[in-house]
Symmetry: C2
Subunit: 181 residues, 2 copies
Amino acid sequence: MAREKKIDMVILGLLSHEDLSGYDIKKRIDSMISFFWKGSFGNIYPALKDMEEAGLVNRISESDSGREKIIYKITDKGSESLKDWLKDEQAVNEIRYETLLKLFFGGALDKAVSLANIEQFENKVKGDLRLLKGYCENLKEHLDNDDHMYYYLTASFGVETYEAYLKWCMKAKKILKNGVV
Amino acid sequence: MAREKKIDMVILGLLSHEDLSGYDIKKRIDSMISFFWKGSFGNIYPALKDMEEAGLVNRISESDSGREKIIYKITDKGSESLKDWLKDEQAVNEIRYETLLKLFFGGALDKAVSLANIEQFENKVKGDLRLLKGYCENLKEHLDNDDHMYYYLTASFGVETYEAYLKWCMKAKKILKNGVV
DNA sequence: AAGCAGATATATCAAAATGATATATTAGGG
DNA sequence: CCCTAATATATCATTTTGATATATCTGCTT
């Protein structure tokens, strides 16, 4: 089986809901799943080209006006490819936290530096948590709608983990200041 | 200011504690920080070469016996570079969770598929949490030692977040099964 | 003592992701 | 009418990832 690029699956997933251009896809990624997945023009546009060649998507319109805009539609083959990936229980989940990296090596400098890094992290998390809670409250009202429910589930993952981050921040600051648990 | 590769900082951070070979560095990354950061031979060895040229590290021994082994030592310049990075409060923190991606697009298939994906994730997390809790309990005894304290802080981040993951798993499974909050 | 598996050790490569930049068009506000 | 911001595609250098190649050494078994 050919190794699948993750960005391909993201694109197919989005196209399974609606026809989109590369630019639209980038916007959807940024607004809906950016807190746990990212995409860039640098991999979206080449992926669309490759997938068109492979018959997973079709371009269904191009430049209605003078402005160029290429809208893509998922094909049956693309849909099958998406489902195969969804059914495969293997999943790579990873975090990449520079804040933790700096903390781990914090011994090279005064504890005040580590404290500042944690506080910086804490503030960022507080802002993001506010946003995610907002999404969740709106989505909660429409759990009968499947699309909203799946969106709600991922957003609530964010809420749950960000709250844990804040809990950890308080604990970590205390330990750094007092050296106690 | 030159853009710094993250792997460079990881290597300098590790070398600030002890002299190491590229292979040693990979082992340290895998055993101590792999749950929030990764490294591969493919970027470690080239990074060591580049940093040696830039005067951030020195090779202090090579092939005592017939077996080739290059040990690196951090230089003053390397140490400064590490400290500059630590002092910079900017930090990129990102998660990349394929499980959430599959859940987000789960509507394309039966809910049983999403449930299976969550359960797979849950089992993985349970195992990892057990490990992290073990580390934490050992490290907790030595918070007076700075190195152990910084290690403890990062490990306890893992414990806190993994516990939140499990809490979310239970909630998510309930919603998928019953459609309620 | 021979043989073999597994750990040690460095190196390299294709593929993928990242982040930035280039280019051009269009819509809306002042 | 001009300017800014948003729309839209495309490309590129840099970095990371994951796999593989090559060779040595250690410890265990037979």
